[in-house]
């Protein structure tokens, strides 16, 4: 229940508004913020807008501001300062001062408009007088009521028009203006000063007081001797006001005592605990008021103004309202029946159970959350057991879920670990998950009694904790079991025998080095600080880290040496933020450092979510030392709590230059040149650059590249002349080796540079996958011998003139490739069995040549000559049948391309990879700020980004309203664009407005706009201005 966030809020910050009090008008539109220098008006419908200010010339602060309560006079408001009251009217964004009322001899402490008579105002002061004013006669009060002690607060009864109440230190007096000048009732309400007073909006005889004595009391004026009830927020209460719904009350702590607790609490008067906390203001809340909601709106709004100069609007949705109107603390409804108190929200809810609230209220917000993430454990609860089963993540180490039976309400799991083999059965009671945990039963296990008992306890504790919060617990229980089983060697029987040092701790099983959030804590601790319960699944904050940023920098942040470890020193850092909360509650118990820290159980929600009740910061966690408890009091001050003292916890953020760890050099990025026209010069330049930064390997590399790319080794144009250098082992092979090496060391810089030098993207043909080849060239019946290329580089090695041999298996493989080519390319179906073994000997080849089908072939069979195959040459000559010129040309083109590919030092099939090298390196150059170099590198990409196609304006046809392009409409063939001046279709130059789309012949339009600025069609578009708007 306590985990519901409150609804959305509006935060409007007005840093230039100095106001110490605030009032919301009776229609809920205007907020008056009054201060010494000005009165500012904020429109709640547009709270983010700048407030309308009206300057004040006074040396006195405004002690009080209040709007007229009667809708017919809603523009009147009164301010009190020093001994005077000022009546103002707020009209047309102007504040007019109407009159001034002076009658007190000391500072006016409070004013109150009559809720029924728009002319009557009460004011009170410590001068012992309470004055009743009629605004029509401001010269002197209509009535004066005197008491022996000064009045501090005055409030009209909201329902009974003649009755009002005042406070005098700890006393409360009730007056009736018809009953003379003495009070009708005295109530000795509190032992110390009463700070606030409020009449119940639903009952004319009930009111609430709040006091320095840390209590809020409820009174019935008909029974002044007995307090009707009270709340004990634990700190002096500044203001307590009834909620307009249900039987709630909102309290705020006395400003001087609010140390860091700048929040409001919402209470149900029937309960002793608050139901909600509104957290957000960074400073003292100066005033809070309810805004009148328009008819039909379910949600209420609370407006708060704080010293932090922000105005906040808090939405109180039906969920929260119900909590104020209905007793939610217990499962039974008998304790309180509030319908007698007339809360209008509460009438229908008397029979509502706690879980009903969550399921079927039709609260929109709640359903929205449900639909978004149906089973996030803490925030959205599965509603039924069935749902829980469905949503459960069964991926838990060591645990096998065997049976989930939602009807019988059982779940069977088995757990197998190194030493254990356990069968477990869980039985879920009817009321589960509401306050009843499931029961656990071990079916079969090889565990001894002790360990079994421990495991049982682990799960039961988890289950109990969840049951208290009425949340489902199956998965957490199983995860705990899994954790416990996972590290069985940490079960230490001897530890268990020693007396438990912490009796609250359910058992002393230290099988996990960290403090598991679920079970190693006494469950009441969780109950103590439920603001932390929501943190159970939020990871423990990171307090140190290292991030590689940009190029070559490493940013390191962390704690200072003083804050090296958590409270216990050697433990592993905990897992969840929850642990911090736990620490917070412990440390608070140990020494109550704040006089008025929240002593009550915080089993209510907070909005917005605030970690660990804001009281313990993560720094404190790290600076906490157990020793401190033994030190004398004076030293405790050293505990860092205030910002100035926290500083040593933080180590400065350091930026390291980690570039020496990277395989790339910024210097090189700057100094490398790319000049394809003069590769040797480029290489020697780059080699020098590399040697300057001490990369000897790169010096070698560049000289190697210079040699590889030298003129002498440039491949011949004629494929028959000479084997290209690329095919040499020191060609392609070596480059490949180099690439592999630099890829291994992640040197993308060198890789990209190599690509720049060696990769020629022009005419890069990529051998298409072989299967497609047949379909690509269906007509050309050419039988083609694919010369050695990258696809079958091993073939080359068979040539003896290159001086080295490879294994026969490779050779065979190449032949197979070759023959498969042959097979694919013959369109006729001759049996090619003979071809399979054709090449190795002349005998086989002649067999092929004699084949009748081959004789008919129109293609060209060509082979690279090499010594080993030269014997084939003659027989192949026969098949140079050249009949069709076109095919020949095409063929020779292909040949040339294939040859070109052979001459390449880089494998074209990896061109995508080369692009990525270039892109990655270009990106790094960009990081370094070498934008020009970066663009130079990108020029070598194979796949260039598509050029921008420009913007084309479409035309909607004047005649048939079809969208089209060009002058003529595609569907009706008329001229699509009509001149808005001469109403004739435009063929030639046209001009039109980008905003309204109207236009026409250039000359006409130009003439028109010489004198006019509006569109000629009368569409009221101010085309001339619109143009500048759009082109901005």
């Amino acid at each position: 229940m306590s985990l519901q966030w409150s609804g959305e809020q509006v935060v409007a910050k007005f840093p230039d508004v100095q106001a110490n009090t605030m009032a919301v008008d009776c229609m809920g539109v205007w907020v008056a913020l009054a201060g010494r220098r000005a009165i500012s008006m904020v429109n709640l419908k547009k709270p983010k807008e700048k407030p309308l200010k009206s300057a004040r010339q006074s040396k006195w602060d405004v002690s009080c501001v209040q709007w007229n309560q009667v809708p017919s006079h809603l523009n009147l408001f009164v301010t009190a300062y020093n001994q005077k009251l000022d009546l103002h009217s707020w009209k047309d964004s102007n504040i007019t001062s109407l009159c001034s009322m002076k009658g007190h001899s000391r500072t006016v402490s409070d004013v109150s408009w009559s809720p029924s008579d728009p002319n009557k105002i009460l004011s009170c002061s410590v001068d012992t007088f309470i004055n009743l004013w009629d605004v029509n006669d401001p010269r002197k009060p209509v009535r004066s009521f005197q008491t022996v002690s000064g009045a501090y607060q005055v409030k009209w009864n909201r329902l009974s028009e003649n009755m009002f109440a005042t406070t005098h230190e700890g006393e409360l007096r009730i007056w009736d203006i018809r009953e003379g000048t003495s009070p009708v009732q005295y109530i000795a309400a509190h032992l110390s000063k009463i700070h606030g007073l409020d009449w119940n909006p639903n009952s004319k005889s009930e009111l609430a007081t709040c006091s320095q004595d840390c209590s809020v009391k409820f009174w019935d004026i008909n029974n002044p001797r007995q307090c009707k009830g009270s709340l004990n927020p634990g700190s002096p209460v500044w203001r307590a006001r009834y909620t307009p719904f249900g039987q709630g009350i909102v309290t705020v702590v006395v400003p001087q005592l609010r140390r860091g607790d700048n929040s409001l609490h919402l209470w149900n008067t029937a309960r002793s605990n608050p139901v909600h906390q509104f957290v957000g203001h960074q400073d003292v809340i100066l005033e809070f008021q309810w805004r009148k909601q328009p008819e039909g709106s379910v949600d209420h709004q609370l407006i708060t103004w704080s010293k932090d100069q922000s105005l906040r609007v808090w939405k109180i949705d039906s969920q929260l309202q119900k909590r104020c109107g209905h007793d939610m603390g217990e499962m039974n409804d008998s304790s309180e029946n509030e319908s007698s108190q007339g809360g209008r929200e509460s009438v229908s809810q008397n029979s509502m159970h706690e879980n009903d609230l969550e399921t079927d209220h039709g609260n929109k917000d709640f359903q929205r959350q449900m639909s978004m993430s149906p089973d996030s454990v803490v925030f959205q609860q599965p509603q039924t057991l069935e749902q829980e089963f469905e949503l459960m993540n069964t991926n838990i180490p060591h645990i096998q879920v065997e049976e989930l039976d939602a009807v019988k309400r059982t779940c069977s799991v088995s757990a197998v670990s190194r030493n254990f083999n356990i069968g477990l059965r869980m039985q879920f009671p009817e009321n589960y998950p509401c306050s009843e945990p499931p029961t656990f039963e071990f079916l079969e296990s090889n565990l001894n009694y002790d360990i079994k008992r421990q495991l049982h306890k682990v799960m039961l504790d988890t289950a109990l904790m969840h049951a208290k919060r009425n949340t489902s617990c199956l998965e957490p229980c199983l995860r705990q079991l899994s954790l416990a089983l996972n590290q069985p060697y940490n079960f230490r029987p001897e530890e268990r025998k020693t007396p438990d040092p912490e009796p609250a701790r359910p058992f002393n099983l230290s099988w996990h080095p960290t403090k598991p959030p679920y079970n190693s804590k006494p469950s009441y601790m969780a109950w103590h600080s439920p603001s932390g319960l929501q943190d159970i699944n939020i990871p423990f904050p990171r307090t140190s880290g290292a991030r590689f940023s940009a190029a070559g920098y490493l940013v390191v942040f962390g704690r200072s040496h003083e804050a090296r470890k958590g409270p216990s020193g050697t433990e592993i850092t905990p897992k969840a933020l929850y642990d911090l909360t736990d620490f917070a509650s412990k440390s608070r118990n140990r020494y109550p450092p704040k006089l008025y820290s929240i002593p009550f159980h915080q089993n209510y929600s907070i909005s917005p979510p605030t970690p660990v009740a804001e009281n313990v910061s993560i720094s404190e966690w790290y600076m906490y030392r157990p020793k401190v408890t033994n030190q004398p009091k004076g030293k405790r001050k050293h505990r860092p709590k205030e910002s100035t003292e926290v500083k040593p916890v933080l180590a400065p953020v350091k930026i390291y230059d980690s570039s020496c760890l990277l395989p790339i050099q910024k210097e090189l990025g700057k100094n490398y040149i790319i000049d394809r026209s003069n590769i040797p010069a480029m290489c020697s330049h780059n080699a020098k650059a590399a040697s300057a930064v001490g990369r000897k390997d790169l010096v070698q590399l560049w000289s190697l590249v210079a040699l590889t790319a030298s003129e002498k080794l440039k491949p011949q144009n004629n494929p028959d002349d000479e084997l290209p250098w690329a095919q040499h082992p020191f060609g392609k092979e070596m480059i490949k080796y180099l690439f592999d090496f630099y890829m291994k060391i992640h040197d993308v810089q060198t890789l990209a540079m190599l690509v720049c030098v060696l990769w020629d993207r022009e005419n890069a043909i990529v051998p298409p996958p072989k299967k497609e080849k047949a379909s690509l060239l269906p007509q050309s019946t050419s039988m083609e011998y694919v010369p050695p290329n990258m696809d079958n580089p091993d073939f080359l090695s068979s040539s003896t003139d290159s001086g080295w041999l490879t294994a026969g298996s490779n050779l065979l493989k190449s032949f197979k490739t070759l023959t498969s080519h042959l097979q694919v390319h013959s369109t006729r179906p001759p049996p090619h069995t003979s071809v399979q073994s054709r090449l190795p000997s002349q005998h086989h080849l002649s067999e092929v040549s004699s084949h009748p089908d081959l004789a008919n072939m129109t293609g060209v069979l060509k082979i690279r000559r090499s010594n080993s195959l030269s014997c084939l040459e003659d027989s192949f000559e026969d098949y140079r049948i050249e009949d069709e010129e076109g095919i020949k040309e095409k063929e020779s083109e292909r040949q040339a391309k294939i040859h070109e590919n052979n001459c390449r030092l880089l494998d074209p099939s990896a061109q995508n990879q080369y692009d990525v090298f270039l892109m990655s390196y270009a990106d790094i150059l960009f990081h370094w700020g070498y934008t020009n170099n970066s663009k130079l590198v990108l020029k070598f990409m194979t796949h260039l980004p598509e050029p921008h196609t420009g913007i084309e304006f479409g035309v909607q046809c004047f005649h048939c309203s079809q969208d089209g392009r060009g002058a003529k409409c595609g569907s009706c063939k008329n001229l699509a664009f009509n001149c808005s001046i001469c109403h004739i279709g435009v063929k030639g130059n046209s001009m039109f407005c980008l905003k309204c789309g109207h236009g026409g012949h250039t000359t006409h339009i130009l003439d028109w706009f010489k004198e006019n600025s509006q569109c000629p069609t009368g569409c009221s578009c101010r085309c001339v201005e619109a143009k500048s708007e759009i082109t901005m």
């Binding site: 925030f379 190029a551 942040f557 917005p608 605030t610 500083k647 390291y656 020496c660 990277l662 992640h746």
Partner: protein, 283 residues
């Protein structure tokens, strides 16, 4: 050796949870439990406070800089369930967009590679991951992966905009697929893939025995494999590699304390790890 080139006293009032340099390494952004974000100019060794951004109502957990082609943009996520995108316009910083559609603390934010446009992933303790994208005309669009990790999502990281499978496939390049990796309280590392505009779970990597605290997809420099690093409350750092034949895991190291931050160098050759013991290790 690795040398300190700048040391910035941030004057945060509470613990710092993240610190990141922008694309060019000239601006440093830090965020803290004191609910503020500070941006420093660190160009040329200086350390000038440029601005202090306030707008979060809880500790700010993580930051992310966008690619400079979108302007000076920084995203922050906080305990207060909000994700805020801040923008610098004419030298002054302000809120550009506030995303409030998470129901619990948002633990991680990360901008996608710029090739995909202005796209931000957020992982939250409510178990879901949001992918927020700018439509370009000032409005923002959000997709949500509900229940990405039961209990909670602790970290998100985008994959580089390259399909490793395409690198050695000569038949041309395909449009890169948007992928991201996430880690959560269910001890899992999950890989998500966008298909037809829908985010789907692609892989589930099981290896950790406790909450996964951080995940980081290694940058691709053209190697035909994908690498992900993940670290966990179980004290281990796991390197996940996929060279086209499925993901294989390798435990990099078992540490003495929780590892909660991991970060790859730009070339992907070094991994920086940091954790509860306040130490940073590079490998």
């Amino acid at each position: 050796m690795v040398s300190v080139i700048n040391s910035i006293d941030t004057s945060h009032e509470d613990m710092i949870h993240d610190a990141q340099l922008d694309y060019y390494g000239t601006k440093l952004a830090t965020c803290s439990s004191d609910r503020s974000i500070k941006i420093f100019d660190v160009k040329g060794g200086q350390q000038t406070l440029v601005t202090e951004l306030r707008g979060h109502d809880g500790p700010v957990w993580q930051l992310a800089w966008a690619h400079p082609m979108f302007g000076n943009l920084i995203a922050s996520c906080s305990y207060d369930r909000k994700v805020i995108i801040w923008k610098e316009t004419n030298g002054s910083w302000g809120k550009l967009y506030e995303y409030q559609n998470h129901d619990s603390s948002v633990n991680s934010v990360n901008f996608a590679p710029h090739e995909f446009g202005l796209l931000l992933a957020c992982g939250s303790s409510d178990g879901s991951i949001s992918i927020i994208s700018s439509t370009g005309d000032g409005t923002w669009d959000a997709k949500k992966i509900p229940n990405a990790h039961s209990i909670g999502c602790n970290a998100v990281s985008w994959a580089p905009p390259i399909n490793p499978g395409d690198l050695l496939d000569p038949s041309g390049r395909h449009q890169p697929i948007k992928q991201l990796v996430s880690g959560g309280c269910d001890n899992l590392v999950k890989i998500w893939k966008e298909e037809d505009g829908q985010w789907k779970e692609d892989q589930k990597l099981e290896g950790h025995s406790d909450w996964v605290r951080d995940v980081a997809w290694a940058p691709s420099i053209g190697l035909p494999k994908s690498i992900i690093a993940s670290c966990s409350q179980d004290l281990r750092v796991i390197i996940w590699t996929n060279d086209g034949n499925g993901w294989t895991q390798k435990v990099l190291n078992k540490f003495n304390d929780v590892i909660w931050h991991i970060s790859w160098s730009i070339t992907g050759n070094i991994l920086a790890t940091s954790g509860g013991d306040n130490k940073v290790k590079l490998r």
